[in-house]
Symmetry: C2
Subunit: 468 residues, 2 copies
């Protein structure tokens, strides 16, 4: 095993874990640590360098996240092979091979990931300060078991936030706080029961599709038009519930107009036991026009189950989502699910409550809206050159745009030619959940949330070389 | 609405929320705040007193937890009626009535709750310090989405802890970290599939029974003897899985001997697809003899699903549990459930990792084992006087004892006569999940985890008056 003799300089401008991370990264880049080579365990590294294990872990985590190292079952941490670092992740090796037969692969320089977010402006010091205050103020009472639905005061805060920003009409009693959307959907399964036939758009948010698939739900895909899920398709589907993202459909970016929303609500009101599941996952980020109220805001009959998350608007690691239940489902939850205990610690809930309640969340959202708008505008401007060859859609909201080739290039070709220039773009067909209308796909997604302005300019220049 | 003019003295020995809590409690006790009276919302209280909303919430939470106030749907916080505060919670009003017909109810002075734990010795300052270090050291990398199974380094730490303290044989790869046992059971349902016939002891841990009931599982109860679940009963039940607590059955306290464990493992090995779910919920607290290894430790064929939690051993608000999957189920998890994202924030995982990794957890456990043993011994000694009239069982481990009357008193009578002296004890039949062998029940539970030594002495004296 390699001997990692990092010269640590405590008290320098960089913290210890960063020094270790940079040292190892440099060793890998320079080939001193070779592909396949095993790294010491975090424990032995910690002992060797006389640091805490969590410092060692943080350094490894960073390297893992960036793909320099990998962890292997039963064996520990290994240095990645360089091909693995820059591997094309479409599952179709041949595509990349066709473009550059036998040639050296180009490292990915700009990654237009549609799921990445920008954490660089997060008010870490505020978060730390609140954390510290809550912990020093709370004492023992914070460590006892809390309300199964989530702390009442946090639910009050969320209901006010949802009302003012999303037009959602609900009481704190209707809100269930849970550790992520996936958990809330698991709980919803127990509330709705097993005999659900659920309609989804196609393409749609793949994880929700996978989760419904792991339930005993029958899934039916319904055609979309430029207003979102078609109600004629929904009627034909015989579904009892529909999963929709009316404010910003993923991945197409379609905004459902009020007319279609009212048609959907009418459908839901026509038979007992019909529900609309509204996933309002990134409604905070809209750049043009007024904010669009939620579908729930138009619901007068209690047919909408509203789900939202702080993982997108605050940070992916904040595992806090919320679900707003209509009254009849709230009764069922109380009868059938009261014994499921809370999944978010009281401390985390209190920190979040204060972060929102004291106005930090609003300020952060405004800052991020501005930050993402700047990236969005830069990308959109730059794509003007592509106008002759590509159609751009999905603008005005969210963290990605869609490009559809006008010259018959397939999605796979677009991905491969971009990657040959060191740019990663993503295929729309990743989000397809049934048969596609058009095969092969011709649309790619360009996410900008996680990129800096320079990266975007750089990426655009490379894409020009690749595609124009 | 009442005007809560609390004279706050910042910087005094008591923190703000405690001052508010004590002020309101005093006002209620003195009748200045009357039953049914509405309290200001946390928001308006915060504005009025110029404090943060979380401080106001903490004060209300404490009052809620202690039963001075209640929150009502759509209306806010109210002062409880005194009868409500001290209400007999058996659902059979007549029992209490028979004992003291028309008489004034006696407040509950000592509550032998079997689920209460003692947080007074928790090293809050250490927890705060670790939290602070992690947050200041981690920066942005802590806020990105983590591994779905939980941070690898935390799983390493847990696997070492489980191996050394519980004899569990597993790799970090086999561990799934989740936000509480309930969530892990929801995930397990997706791994095991829906066609499970599960055997449970009777009485058993009620919440697990309720959760399995909310799945489509068929539940079958199997007879117990002094070694726990009988294997003849299990064979007759046609079950495909059995839920057991071999180290300390709840609520009976039975420790399953090695012979019975091997019989259970033999049963599991006799047909494919059979599993034993081992809930090792409070194995940390054993006062006599050597620590008992887990059932998983004896499993050579991968038939045991091991579940444990930090909610009992650290604090109820720490929503972190872990599940160890045998290899075949791990494969199924990876194929069928890989899309379920992590439910515990990375920050919380890192704090926990350091708390365990730096030895604080071990020290705390040792301290608590000593603390609980002292309470256990005091209660057991005091119960010597009851020997002629009661049989005491369930000693040597856990946080409660069982008393069975020898003179034919029913459980309901014991609860009511104790409450007439201001002592709350709990019926064994609360944990019955099918038909009881003996009706009516004659056994009560006395939990001591949450009581101080003086409370225990006081409670014993009152029980002597009630029962001897």
């Amino acid at each position: 095993m390699y001997d990692l003799t990092v010269e640590l300089r405590p008290g320098r401008e960089k913290c210890l874990y960063e020094q270790i991370y940079e040292y190892i990264r440099q060793e890998i880049r320079e080939g001193k640590l070779r592909p396949g080579e095993r790294l010491p365990s975090t424990r032995s590294l910690a002992e060797y360098l006389q640091i805490s294990r969590s410092t060692a872990s943080l350094a490894y985590d960073q390297l893992l996240a960036e793909g320099y190292i990998a962890s292997q079952p039963y064996r520990g941490y290994y240095v990645c092979r360089m091909e693995e670092l820059y591997r094309l992740d479409t599952g179709e090796e041949s595509v990349a091979g066709e473009v550059e037969p036998g040639g050296a692969r180009v490292p990915c320089v700009v990654d237009f990931s549609p799921t990445a977010t920008d954490m660089s402006r997060f008010p870490f010091s505020v978060w730390r300060k609140i954390n510290k205050n809550i912990l020093s103020q709370g004492g023992g009472s914070l460590f006892v078991q809390g309300d199964a639905q989530g702390e009442y005061s946090l639910r009050e805060t969320i209901s006010r936030y949802l009302h003012s920003s999303r037009g959602v009409n609900c009481t704190p009693q209707q809100i269930i706080v849970g550790a992520g959307n996936d958990y809330l959907l698991l709980l919803l399964e127990k509330i709705l029961g097993r005999h659900v036939r659920i309609a989804m758009e196609n393409p749609t948010y793949k994880r929700a599709y996978q989760i419904f698939g792991s339930f005993a739900y029958e899934i039916t895909t319904v055609d979309m038009d430029e207003s979102g899920m078609t109600v004629s398709g929904l009627r034909q589907s015989d579904a009892t519930a529909a999963y929709v993202m009316p404010s910003h459909q993923y991945p197409t970016g379609v905004l459902m107009p009020i007319g279609r929303r009212l048609e959907l609500l009418k459908w839901a009101n026509e038979a007992p036991g019909r529900y609309l599941i509204e996933d309002d996952y990134d409604s905070e980020f809209r750049y043009k026009g007024k904010p669009i109220p939620s579908l729930q805001a138009s619901d007068t009959q209690g047919r909408v189950i509203y789900i939202g998350t702080f993982s997108k608007s605050i940070a992916p690691a904040i595992r806090v989502s919320y679900m707003v239940l209509p009254q009849d489902l709230l009764e069922r939850y109380r009868q059938q699910c009261y014994f499921y205990s809370a999944t978010v610690s009281r401390i985390d809930q209190k920190v979040l409550e204060e972060f929102i309640g004291e106005g930090y969340f609003e300020r952060y959202l405004n800052k991020m809206r501005k930050c993402y708008k700047e990236k969005h505008d830069l990308l959109l401007e730059g794509l003007a050159d592509f106008e002759a060859d590509f159609r751009v859609t999905g603008e005005n909201a969210g963290l990605h745009l869609l490009l559809t080739g006008r010259r018959g290039q397939t999605e796979d070709e677009l991905i491969a030619t971009a990657l040959a220039q060191g740019v990663r773009v993503y295929g729309l067909s990743d989000s397809l959940v049934g048969k596609a209308e058009e095969q092969p796909g011709r649309t790619v997604l360009l996410g900008y949330g996680g990129l800096g302005l320079e990266d975007i300019k750089n990426g655009l220049a490379l894409l020009r070389q690749a595609w124009l």
